[in-house]
Every structure is written in C-alpha cells, then in structure tokens.
Amino acid sequence: MDYSEKVMDHFAHPRNVGEIEDANGVGTVGNAKCGDIMKMYLKVDDSEIITDVKFKTFGCGAAIATSSMATEMIKGKSINDALGLTNKAVIEALGGLPAVKIHCSVLAEEAVKSAIADYYKRKGIENDLTREMDCNGCCGCEHDHHHHDTEEE
C-alpha cells in the first residue's frame, strides 16, 4: 500500500482530533463492520461560519488522513462552502489515494454533510441532507454512490 507523503503526514499528525463539548452539529458515518467510522463535531456561529471542527475516527490510515484533511478544509468556512466539499477535493488535497481507499474520502465528505445536517436539524431548518448516510459502500452493499468521483488519482 503506497500512501502519499501528505496522507502519511495527516495520518501521523492528524489535525483537529477530539470532541467539541458544546458542538451544535455532530455527525457520525460509516460502521464498525466496514472497518471505518467517522464522527465530526462542528461549532457554527450565528453567521453560519464553522468556527471550530473536531473529529474522531475508527479506521485505516486513509480514513484518519481524509478526516483530518476534511476538517482542515472546512474550518473557518461557511456552511455553504463546507457543503461544497467533495471527496475529489479531499483526494486532491492529499496528493492522491490508492484506489481501494477512495471510499474513505467519500466517508469524509459524508461526515461533513452529516454534521451539517445535524446542525440544521437542531435549528429546525428543513434540508435535504438527512438521507441515510450510515454506509459508504465498502461492505459491498448496493447503495447509490455514483454521484461521487471514485476514480483513482
């Protein structure tokens, strides 16, 4: 398994690990059976800026690195910008991922969306992000994944 230097850096020195006690958006995606779970905590201010973000991940090197990179990419951004984060952008920022690890980047994207969905829900705002996101397809189950870019970089 060949990880890029960037991936190894984020794996060995993950940014934003931990919990936020007074988070106002928390999302968990993945499942232990598949071998990866990501939990993301957001602190969003009144002008919808993500002022703080933390994560906890159970998973492989790529799962930890993509979580770390995703948190870096949305920290200080608006909710809208964060919603625009794609798995492809995470892969690019990491300098590529092995083909078998692409699903980790999908999971990272979904973790961000899931945490934002929770933020909206707590505020009582209608949104279309509440679809089930508890499986990233790694376990071979038949879900709709074609909206993600699953090409190897």
């Binding site: 190894m8 991940t57 159970f58 090197g61 078998v100």
Partner: protein, 390 residues
C-alpha cells in the same frame, strides 16, 4: 532506526548458510539435471542429494518428494490433482481456516461440480475430528486440513483426521507450509498421503516448494512438461532454490529444539500484551500453537492504522483487517473462530522467529501499548468506554 521483523509467517529472511549453499548453483554448477553431459550430471547429483535431504527431514523416501514452484502450487496440485485421481468421487472435506491457496483450489473444484464441505473450528481455532468424521461420505475423494494455521498459529490433530479420512477411503492432504521447520513434521507419524511445504517460510528463498506424495499416491499431473520429477511435474528444476530448500529443511530439523526458546518469547509477548492492554484478546488457543505466532485483537481500533504506527517505530507486523488488503472482508480465519467483524478489524499478528531476541520482545511491549492507546483516544468507539471509566 531499530527494525524488528515480526512478520515471519508472511516470509522469512534467507539465512546466510542457505544462501551460501545455493551460490555455486548459479554460475558454476548451472547445469540442467536432465542433460547427459558432465555439467548436467553434476546438477543431477545435487538435485538427488537435495531430495534425499528434504525426505530425511520429513521421514520419507526421496522418491516421495516432488519439487514445485511454491506452497500454492503444492496445495493446488494436491487438492485438484488428488481429487481428480479419485475417479467417480465428487466430495471434498476441508476447513474454514485454510490458506487461500488451498481454499481457492477447493472453490475451483466446486466450479467443476465437486461438493465441498467446509468444516468449522471452535472459538480457539481448532478443528474437531468428529466434525470431519460426520462430514465423511461414500464419495469423499479428499480431506484437506492444514497442519498449522498461518494467522492464528493453531495446530490441528492431523493424525486423527488422517485416520478418519482413510477409514472412509479418502485421500488425506495437509498444508504444512507453516508447520515445517517450526514443529516436528513426520509424514509417517502423521499418516498423511500428501503434504505441502514452502521454502520461504523456513529461511529458504521464495518461489520454491515441495509436495510429499506417499508411495502409490499419484495426484493427477497439474503441470505437464518434459518429464521432470519422474514425469509428475514439468519444468526444469530450479536447482539453486531446491538446494536452498534442502539446506533450510536440514537446518530447521537440526535446530528444532531452538523452537522452545521461540515459544518462551511468544508467551512473554502474549502475556505482556494482555497484561498491559485492556480490551484485548488472544486469537487462537494457547496450545498447541506455533512457537512463533502471536495474534491479538484490540477492541475499538483498526489494524491497518496500528500497523502503520508500529512501522514508524520499526516494528513489522501484519493484521487480519480488511483495510490492509484489497478485499472487503476481514480475515476469514478470525471470523471462523466467531470473532465479530468489528473486532477482527482490530487484530494484530506478530510472528517471531529464532532470530528474534528478548530485547526485541521488550521493545515491542514498550512501543505497542501507547500506540494502541493513541488510536483508541482517536476512536469514536472508545468514547463511551472512556467516559464510563472516568
């Protein structure tokens, strides 16, 4: 940086003595053993001597040993060729914990119309011979049970199982790739018809193996060729590697008592890990177990990230987690012992050898606990546990 190689079940270093024994067979005695001239005759002599050495190590006759390209070939030949040689019989018995080389050879037979019974193991990873007996049928052609498991190190009651196979008129094959060199392997004592071994697990090179076939046992030929190996296996003999395999088998047999020391280090490692790290469990029973095998499941963490962090400390190990392989499933062996999928993801295999020192074991015991703890602190699964224990 310090480097500790604790992945000897994956492959071993070629030992200096083995390499030295091999070297003359590249540029000097490079002949083809089938050639009639002097260079060929020299090669033939070395081939015969190597065959006799391997035979002595297994307690059989030289003409019962066939050299192959690897353990996987030996497995395939024994299983597919063995089944095919029992004309009219269409049933195979094997176990759920075989190496993929043996397991997939059985799958290939299924595609040909054979029925395969996959006998399970208990929670400690042992096959119950009674289960094999219960699976026997009139048309059972072959029973294939590995002698020692490559992941969890459990050693199976091959002798008893061979008796059951023979009572039912079936052939008995055992994949002894992990057993040879680590525990006594005597084909007469075991009573098997065929037995596979591989060079690179016993400090010989990769790409050389052998199959023992008891006199009169003739699995259908898998590799047709120019009459080598008494017409049973084609291909110009890989003489240097064969000489290396023989040397390695000879050394392993002579030094078998060294394995008691390896087993003592294994026990120190197992006990040390279980003592120092909560929520951990030994995979595979304690006894009988390969002297070099340690396999532990750590809850709440995933194996690949564990391997990467160990690697950063110079420790080379392996895991049964799916994430370290290209498949989507964690180890079929761990699952067969009843370990839940999520725990199988957090498994670590350390396989030591006679080159491993007590200092190496101490180093692993020093480095491993904080790495596990670090990953747990990062794991959402550990949150609840951490909170409850506060």
């Amino acid at each position: 940086m310090r480097r500790i190689y604790a992945d000897n079940a994956a492959t071993t270093a070629v030992s200096r003595e083995v390499l030295d024994a091999m070297l003359p067979y590249f540029c000097e005695s490079y002949g083809n053993p089938s050639s009639l001239h002097a260079v060929g005759r020299e090669a033939k002599k070395a081939l015969d001597a190597a065959r006799a050495t391997v035979a002595a190590a297994l307690n059989c006759d030289a003409n019962e040993i066939y050299f192959t390209s690897c353990g996987s070939e030996s497995d395939n030949w024994a299983i597919r060729g063995g089944a095919h040689s029992k004309k009219g019989k269409k049933h195979i018995i094997t176990t759920k914990i075989e190496h993929h080389a043996a397991l997939h050879a059985c799958k290939a037979l299924e595609k040909e119309g054979y029925e395969v019974t996959y006998v399970g193991v208990d929670e400690n990873g042992y096959v119950d011979p009674a289960d094999v007996a219960a699976a026997m049928r009139e048309d059972t052609a072959l029973v294939s049970v590995m002698m020692a498991n490559n992941e969890i190190g459990t050693i199976q009651p091959i002798k008893e199982i061979a008796e059951i196979a023979h009572n039912g008129g079936a052939l008995m094959f055992t994949d002894a790739v992990q057993a040879v060199g680590n525990i006594p392997v005597d084909v007469k004592e075991l009573g098997v018809d065929m037995l596979a071994l591989s060079g690179h697990k016993i400090h010989a090179p990769k790409g050389i193996g052998a199959l023992y076939c008891k006199k009169g046992v003739r699995p259908d030929v898998l590799i047709e060729g120019g009459g080598q190996e008494r017409g049973r296996r084609g291909g110009t003999e890989a003489l240097a590697s064969i000489v290396g395999l023989a040397k390695a088998a000879e050394i392993a047999n002579a030094e078998l008592s060294e394995m008691d020391k390896v087993a003592a280090l294994r026990d120190k490692l197992i006990d040390g890990i279980l003592e120092r790290i909560p929520y951990s469990r030994l995979n595979g029973g304690r006894s009988p177990r390969l002297p070099g095998n340690v396999n532990v499941a750590f809850e709440f963490i995933e194996g690949e990230s564990l391997l990467l962090l160990l690697d950063m400390e110079g420790i080379c190990a392996s895991t049964g987690s799916a994430c370290s392989s290209n498949s989507l499933e964690p180890s079929h062996v761990l699952l067969a012992t009843g370990l839940p999928v999520e725990k199988a993801h957090g498994s670590l295999r350390l396989s030591i050898s006679k080159d491993t020192t007590e200092e190496d074991v101490d180093y692993i015991l020093e480095k491993l606990p904080p790495i596990v703890q670090r990953l747990r602190e990062m794991s959402p699964l550990y949150e609840e546990v951490a909170k409850n224990s506060k």
